[in-house]
Symmetry: C2
Subunit: 416 residues, 2 copies
């Protein structure tokens, strides 16, 4: 470490990585702290949870991504406290001083006061979550095959996804595909096609961030894939036998949670106002009002642009990260930092095989064309992220380039 | 299930799968029991442990492999007891009657009375083991980077592999490669090249199953890769700070165990003699002497052929599996079963990048040519196993063939 200003970035997601990369030529000493050793291509995490992709295909070691950027040090660690007065961050294993701090730790899934549901209805945010969900889904079919009792068999073949946002829609659509196609013919005593996949949304429609017409399209596509969509009724209880909705009980041994997010608890340590989900209300340049040296970027930031609240999606996080990098450089140069302007390119969600919805503002699509847009967009960004479309040459590459395709720490102590 | 004779096969490794496939046209009802949902390409497991391959690249769901074989049912479960009198197998969740039983549950690593070493020095047999070892290795470099104390840093960069058999040699060689090449330039405070990798073998040479000249070649190749090989001295203590060899203490935060195997405990339930490692002494046709309806195949069987003891390697397991299938068919037809004849094609072990030893009997090679033989052999068998060289098209394939590349249950409850 030299005597350059020290910038600490907490979180190596799209926002945090955006900050670090944006400062690659700046005269600063960067410290990137993350509790995982890898950056995750979050938009495809549901594919790992549903066994479509191996974890290394969507995760890359942060220090590998940043190996050529000499002004950054990467540390593995979970931040426990932030002392905004003395400008220090503490990980339990070390204490680090900063001149500028960027908090980009995103969100977790939330149970809104029903934290005990977590063990019955896991949510999806990390690779560990994805492995856990994958094991539950695959194991459910195994248990169904072995069940001697018809009611138990049906309960094992009954899947409930709670929450009709993008993650819920993706999980439900893919579950239906697994049951109807992937596992077809692999069992002797059960017919996976007879599985029931239910998507439960408490609000009036799925994908509420999309225009109503596309919510309708998504619901029709889900129905065509075999998903039973329930709208306007909220879960009132969850246990290992199923879910309750008011007086109705749905027997289901596999319940997945995609119903809500809560911001990372670090947001509350910054002395700024937070919204109901715990997101930090930042100023126009994404700094914290009382602390111009502290910035918040990505899903943890509550920002409103001209067109309304900035959505919690990867492109927004990347843009915020890049903007914070510019703001830090402006401060260093003694210039005023500018206001963040969110550029909205659109919303995309896949529903399942050849089914998706796309809202590009000037164009609204549901169906095959939307799915192709989704596919090409994700291939494009995945390639940009790590040349991983060519997930591929892993094996050969390990020998011929010394690179190792699977360098991912699965934090096994967190697995249940 | 019809009224055909019931054949239960315990274990879906090379031997068990060989039995099941060998009986694909036989008039039997097969039940394959395994505690994992996948068949594992064991010879490349060390690659998963050393982050070279993603788990799905070397594991395939048993029921997917067998989906077109109508006379087999696959159940997930761990056999708890075998009642050889009443001819029943019990998994805790179910009890199953058999007419013929094949036990092919292989071996685990063994600590020879020092079971408490297991937590400090994990061994490598399953995917869970591989994930745990991978996390330890990667985490060691992370901890070294963050250590403030020079002694601690050195201890985190010190790796000990106990046992100079094939697995120990592969792990040590690959660790040296990771330190010297893969991680080069990724750290700011440590130089991974300064890591020390030690291979400790209590016997007089590494790879004792090979001719002495090849043991020497392997030791020279290891030395060239940067591995310090210690011969003829046994570990006397292991804890989380390192290992003790007599009066010497080697500080090492990462110790891996590849020093011995113990047969699956199921072998002792069959009422047959077992050798010191717990392997079952089977008759010439691989059946248990007192129980002609029970067979043992693969690493769990202690068999001596004309050329000496049959080695515990994949080709031997496959041959035994095929032979048991023939023996069962002979019994069914009222014919006498023939004696197993092991056909030895040779021994191959990779030492590291472009380094290997090959003993083909008529040809003994150490070095680049041996490595090419090793590479092509493993590519060939991996392709035969699952078209996985083309690990590759995973992503595209998931969409276009409905197949899902990562359908592997990681038994997370076993992870520590």
């Amino acid at each position: 470490m030299g005597s350059n200003p020290r910038v600490i970035v907490i979180g190596g997601g799209f926002a945090g990585l955006g900050v670090v990369r944006g400062l690659r030529h700046a005269p600063v000493d960067l410290l990137l702290l993350d509790r995982a050793n890898h950056h995750l291509f979050q938009p495809l995490l549901y594919q790992v949870a549903t066994a479509g992709l191996a974890a290394p295909s969507i995760a890359a070691p942060l220090r590998h991504i940043l190996r050529r950027q000499a002004n950054v040090t990467v540390y593995l660690g979970e931040v426990r406290s932030i002392d905004t007065g003395r400008r220090r961050v503490d990980t339990g294993e070390g204490s680090f001083a900063y001149d500028y701090l960027v908090v980009a730790t995103g969100t977790r899934h939330a149970y809104f006061g029903h934290e005990d549901w977590a063990r019955y209805a896991p949510g999806l945010k990390s690779l560990e979550d994805a492995f856990g969900i994958r094991a539950r889904i695959l194991n459910a079919f195994e248990q169904a095959e072995m069940a001697d009792d018809e009611a138990q068999r049906a309960a094992w073949l009954s899947f409930v996804v709670v929450g009709g946002g993008p993650t819920g829609v993706e999980l439900a659509g893919t579950l239906a595909e697994i049951a109807r196609h992937t596992l077809k013919q692999e069992f002797r005593r059960i017919d996976p096609v007879r599985s029931r996949v239910r998507l439960i949304e408490a609000g009036p429609r799925v994908l509420p961030a999309f225009p109503e017409s596309l919510s309708g399209a998504a619901q029709r596509q889900l129905a065509r894939l075999g998903v039973e969509v329930s709208i306007g009724r909220a879960i009132t209880a969850v246990d290992n036998q199923g879910v309750r909705i008011g007086d109705d009980f749905i027997a289901a041994r596999t319940v997945l949670w995609a119903a809500g997010v809560a911001a990372s608890p670090l947001g509350r340590l910054l002395g700024a106002e937070v919204d109901r989900a715990g997101r930090v209300q930042v100023g126009p340049d994404l700094s914290v009002p009382a602390h111009p040296e502290i910035f918040v970027a990505g899903d943890l930031a509550s920002v409103t642009s001209a067109a309304g609240p900035v959505p919690g999606i990867a492109p927004a996080a990347k843009q915020m990260g890049a903007h914070v990098a510019r703001s830090v450089q402006a401060r260093l140069a003694g210039r005023a930092s500018s206001a963040f302007r969110y550029r909205h390119y659109g919303l995309l969600t896949t529903v399942g095989r050849m089914a998706a919805v796309a809202d590009l503002g000037w164009l609204r699509l549901g169906g095959l064309v939307a799915w192709w847009i989704w596919l090409l967009t994700h291939i494009y960004f995945l390639i940009g992220f790590r040349n991983r479309l060519v997930v591929l040459i892993d094996w050969a590459a390990a020998y011929f380039t010394y690179e190792r395709g699977a360098r991912i720490i699965v934090r096994t102590d967190q697995l249940e």
